[in-house]
């Protein structure tokens, strides 16, 4: 007797369709992008975009200076200086912990370093 056919599953068909579409597009794009023409075009676009970005940044910088406002670069600079101060504070607090005998940084603190691999333990039991 023939096996009873299971009813079609639209969700499974949809999953298969998406999977095939993904595979097809990725393969097609992979072939298209693996060429000299694409490489040349992509790098031209990147160079143009970064040059424009830089020129736009300089223009906006001049505009902000006119308005007496800080530029993004100046804000980043302040952020970096704050981060440097935070790092210094962290270093000082770590040193203080060490001086006061804090457990966190005591060499070798923590559980004993005596663990053996399971294979060695099994051998030990066998002998």
């Amino acid at each position: 007797m023939a096996e009873q056919q299971s009813p079609p599953d639209p969700a499974a068909a949809f999953r298969e369709l998406v999977s095939q579409w993904e595979k097809g597009i990725n393969e097609f794009a992979g072939r298209a992008m693996n060429s000299d023409e694409f490489s040349r075009a992509m790098n031209k676009a990147t160079t143009t975009s970064t040059t424009m970005q830089q020129q736009l940044g300089e223009l906006i910088g001049r505009y902000l200076t006119t308005l007496n406002l800080p530029s993004r670069a100046e804000m980043i600079n302040i952020g970096e200086r704050l981060q440097t101060i935070e790092t210094s504070l962290h270093r000082i607090s770590t040193q203080l912990e060490k001086i006061s005998g804090g457990a966190v940084n005591s060499p070798g603190a923590g559980p004993p370093r005596t663990k053996r691999p399971p294979s060695a333990e099994q051998k030990g039991v066998a002998s």
Binding site: S6, P7, D9, P10, A11, F14, R15, V18, S19, W21, E22, G24, I25, N26, A29, G30, M33, N34, S35, D36, F38, S39, R40, M42, N43, K44, T46, T47, T50, T51, Q54, A73, I76, N77, E80, Q83, T87, H90, T94, V104, N105, P107, G108, G110, P111, P112, R113, T114, K115, R116, P117, P118, S119, A120
Partner: protein, 365 residues
């Protein structure tokens, strides 16, 4: 799986077609409810395994995870994260965290993680990472643990940096070297090599203009390797949005992959010229501060886990590591999965982690 998702998947035994229609309707309702929840909810918490920041210097953070076992192996592990992404891929969530797994298996775990390099760090170079950051962290791990030996575990570019360090420090203190999906032969990084063709790619102009290379540019280049995968992933998310576990996992990986870091300009220039153009790590011509990086100098035990379907580091690019190192105690395992799923996620839990534990355990006493 939640009660809602369990209900949604329960078929009606008496009438398979009726049950399927009922499940489809319930899933459609759940999709709408969960879809709204998805938009409104905050991002999942990752990297939550308890740890202490023991050193921070600009782009570099060194964390020490608090032990979870009563007895630990003698040799501490220092994980070196890839420079393009954040280290929480090693510590996604309880039950899906490589770090948590290693801690529970009795290892003392340290992680070198990266912040976005600041504008004033554009001069960081391969030498800075290999001859300054790694040795600095190794000596801090030695001081913190009280142990002379340290095992290095590197992921992707973290593996490349670890290989370079191990090759230049053949006399120690590295006890073992474990790498995941580490590119060695850049001739086989086909797409990246094509895109960075020296005839068209003006790396000097790019670095001199931008300083550091923006994370968006790095992210886009990764995405371009499989341009349809993100859209297909979002369609699959919509289809599975009734399933809380699926949504949580999707969000974690999506957040991590989009959290791409900028690269220090000089480091990017060097990796492009030295690795991508000259392939000098593979050919043995790479020199850092006048010292030649020869993989044959690596005499410590080496473990390399590579992914069968890795679209970022193809197998042929990763394969030469084991062939090039100068030790007989070496092991390569080829695992099902891709560049990320080999390290994190359900596949990694079943495949890589136990294999790594078994290999490291015997060499960590």
């Amino acid at each position: 799986m939640t009660a809602a998702s369990a209900t949604a998947t329960k078929p009606a035994a008496a009438d398979p077609m009726g049950g399927r229609i009922q499940a489809a309707i319930e899933r459609a309702i759940q999709r709408n409810i969960k879809g709204l929840e998805y938009i409104a909810s905050s991002a999942p918490v990752m990297g939550a395994t308890p740890k202490d920041l023991i050193h921070s210097r600009g782009t570099l953070n060194l964390y020490h995870y608090r032990p979870l076992a009563e007895e630990i192996y003698r040799v501490p592990l220092l994980l070196v994260m890839a420079t393009t992404n954040k280290g929480y891929i090693f510590d996604l969530a309880p039950g899906q965290s490589l770090v948590e797994y290693l801690l529970q298996r009795g290892y003392d775990v340290y992680v070198m993680d990266w912040n976005a390099p600041r504008a004033d760090e554009k001069h960081l170079s391969l030498e800075t990472y290999v001859l300054d950051f790694i040795p600095d962290c190794v000596s801090r791990v030695q001081a913190e643990s009280g142990e002379e030996d340290v095992t290095l575990v590197g992921y992707c570019m973290g593996g490349v940096l670890s290989v370079m360090y191990a090759a230049l420090n053949a006399d120690g203190p590295i006890k073992n070297l474990a790498c995941f999906t580490t590119p060695i032969d850049y001739e086989h990084m086909t797409m990246f090599k094509r895109w960075s063709d020296r005839n068209y790619f003006e790396v000097d102009r790019l670095v001199d203009t931008l300083g550091n290379i923006p994370g968006e540019l790095i992210f886009t280049s990764f995405e371009m390797l499989r341009p349809a995968t993100r859209i297909a992933g979002q369609v699959q998310l919509w289809e599975n949005i009734w399933n809380d576990d699926y949504v949580k996992s999707y969000r974690m990986f999506d957040r991590w992959s989009t959290d791409t870091l900028p690269l220090a300009g000089e480091y990017f220039r060097q990796t492009t010229k030295e690795l991508m153009w000259e392939n000098s790590l593979f050919t043995g011509k790479l020199t850092l501060n006048g010292k030649r990086v020869e993989m044959g100098n690596i005499k410590v035990p080496v473990f390399h886990a590579v992914a069968q379907h890795d679209h970022i580091v193809p197998y042929d690019a990763a394969k030469p590591l084991i062939a090039s190192v100068g030790t007989d105690d070496k092991k390569e395992i080829v695992l099902k999965g891709g560049h990320v799923s080999v390290v994190a996620g359900p596949n990694a839990v079943k495949r890589l982690w136990p294999a790594l534990d078994q290999w490291l355990g015997e060499r960590s006493v």
